[in-house]
């Protein structure tokens, strides 16, 4: 497999660094990135099904292991400063899976406490995502869109520097999609960066993306 090329970014603006990254599943390499530097901002990762977008996002989120080094803001290392790093990196699943014997409220409260966010932030997001009617019900009663809203809410909790949104616009209604665009724009003014994996092109009239990365054949390459 060919290795990804070194992406030249002004060292002063480097926000996220990947070095000697290798991810295998059953000895089959899925992603092999020699070096990748990403600046702060909003970045769109596009790629076909099975190209490795979700795998890449899950490794960044610390959910699955990998070989190599990932650093946020040059210092926070995924492995060496695991807790501090995770405080700064939030992740929303493409297809969230939560225990069906819990409620959305249980999940949000759990994440809220772990991330040390305040109740005001939770109340605001619950209101804006319009989940008041169902979030205290058991998760087994939820549709995929309702489940997605819980995952998106948890991604905006706390004080992250980077939010990873994996296919954030699938399964949700257009009103909620507009809200997600709105939240991205609000958050970027607070110096929060976004990596967004999406099959569909992002709506340029609603959010300005700084870079576009193509994920294909085990590599990640800048296309814009």
């Amino acid at each position: 497999m060919k290795r990804s090329y070194i992406r030249k970014v002004n060292p002063k603006t480097v926000f996220f660094t990947v070095r000697n990254f290798l991810k295998n599943y059953s000895n089959h390499p899925v992603l092999d990135i020699h070096a990748l530097d990403i600046s702060s901002g909003v970045h769109w990762f596009e790629g076909a099904n099975g190209s490795g977008k979700s795998t890449f996002f899950r490794t960044i989120a610390g959910i699955i292991p990998f070989d190599g080094v990932m650093k946020l803001c040059s210092t926070e290392n995924n492995k060496q400063n695991a807790v501090k790093y995770r405080r700064l990196v939030n992740y929303a699943y493409a297809e969230p899976k939560y225990p069906d014997y819990l409620s959305g409220a249980d999940i949000i409260e759990f994440v809220n406490k772990a991330r040390g966010s305040n109740g005001k932030q939770v109340d605001e997001l619950i209101g804006r995502f319009r989940i008041n009617d169902f979030y205290e019900n058991a998760i087994h009663t939820y549709s995929s869109g309702m489940l997605k809203k819980i995952s998106l809410i948890t991604a905006f909790l706390g004080e992250p520097k980077l939010i990873l949104l994996d296919e954030p616009f699938t399964t949700i209604d257009s009103q909620t999609a507009d809200l997600v665009y709105e939240l991205i724009n609000e958050s970027r003014t607070n110096d929060i960066s976004f990596f967004i994996a999406s099959h569909q092109p992002l709506d340029n009239t609603k959010v300005k993306t700084d870079n576009r990365f193509k994920v294909a054949e085990g590599k990640i390459a800048l296309t814009k």
């Binding site: 989120a61 014997y101 058991a138």
Partner: protein, 341 residues
């Protein structure tokens, strides 16, 4: 494993135990009901496996020639029942020797029923795959949805998703505790018998790993993205262990004679909590399917039984288990590759 534990636990008394059970039909019925629960448990496990897309190929067993198909199904059921079948054979031998023909008859009929009925059910279910997608009301019963603290997530998972396992595990623990309480006042081994009994209760927790793995892999993986330290996670596993072993503590305190000191109670209770913690953290560093590991664990248990006979406090073993658990968790937690169903 349970059989081995039972055999080892009552190495001197288990013949008397089997004689007692076969001589009293009401006791034998209790044992037969426990076996029935085991059959229900393995049947639910079969349903769970067959509902997974990755095991859909198993439905092809219906395409086999009739003789081969039935042989496969009967072999499968015998292997699932093996844990009590061998002990049933032993009890049957005792029953016949004592001339307890009613007990012998019950043993034969019950074990035949526990093979034939599940085989017929499995055969019918395999012919109609849609049956596996229907929800089983028993599996999906709901408690009222109350706000739930994270400390209770695993306990609620066991109550709602693995009620049969929980019931069987607690029955096993209750039988062991009642057994040692019954033998204690007459036994020359003094407190060593109590400790051995609880040691074997804790050995039964090895199955906790599989259930904790199911709990963790199916819905809790989002927690790996949270800023939770290993120390905090470890405390959570200790709380899980305390909640899981509460029934044992209650049974232990209520069953035992008054002359058992608080130190002994603490000694064994700390050990069983440590064992529950150890088998939870094993999710991250032990391949529970590894048969060589089973042999290693068995030999390890025998060694520990011998050590316990020299009056080594269980709390020392507890400290060793907790240390190993924490050290291994720290080493493996971030390298753990979860597999979602």
């Amino acid at each position: 494993m349970y059989l081995l534990i039972l055999l080892a636990a009552f190495s001197l008394e288990h013949i008397q135990l089997a004689s007692l059970i076969t001589s009293r039909v009401e006791l034998l019925i209790v044992v037969v009901i426990i076996w029935a629960l085991h059959v229900v448990k393995t049947s639910l496990f079969f349903v769970k496996i067959m509902q997974q897309p990755s095991y859909e190929f198993l439905f092809d067993v219906t395409l086999l020639p009739e003789k081969k198909k039935w042989t496969e199904l009967v072999s499968l059921q015998i292997s699932l029942n093996a844990i009590f079948l061998s002990y049933a054979a032993f009890m049957l031998f005792i029953g016949i020797r004592q001339g307890n023909w009613a007990s012998a008859g019950i043993l034969v009929i019950a074990n035949l029923v526990y093979i034939v009925l599940p085989v017929l059910w499995k055969h019918k279910s395999l012919q109609y795959p849609a049956a596996f997608n229907r929800k089983i009301a028993f599996l999906n019963f709901r408690f009222p949805q109350l706000p739930l603290s994270k400390w209770f997530f695993f306990s609620v998972f066991l109550l709602k998703k693995e009620p049969v396992y929980l019931l069987l595990q607690k029955l096993f623990a209750a039988a062991m505790i009642a057994g040692i309480a019954y033998f204690y006042p007459t036994d020359d081994y003094d407190e060593r018998l109590l400790k051995l009994g609880l040691f074997f209760v804790a050995s039964g927790y090895f199955t906790l790993t599989q259930h904790f793995t199911d709990y963790y892999n199916n819905g809790m993986l989002f927690t790996r993205n949270l800023p939770v330290s290993i120390e905090r996670a470890f405390v959570e596993y200790i709380v899980n262990g305390v909640l899981f072993t509460l029934p044992e503590l209650l049974l232990f305190v209520s069953y035992l004679p008054n002359n058992v000191s608080l130190f002994v109670i603490l000694d064994v209770y700390i050990y069983i909590i440590a064992a529950a913690v150890f088998w939870q953290t094993a999710t991250f560093w032990i391949d529970i399917q590894n048969t060589r590991l089973h042999l290693f664990l068995f030999i390890g248990h025998i060694a520990l039984v011998i050590i316990l006979m020299f009056k080594i406090p269980l709390v020392l073993l507890a400290a060793a288990l907790l240390t190993i658990s924490f050290w291994q968790l720290k080493k493996h937690y971030y390298n753990f590759e979860a597999t979602e169903d």
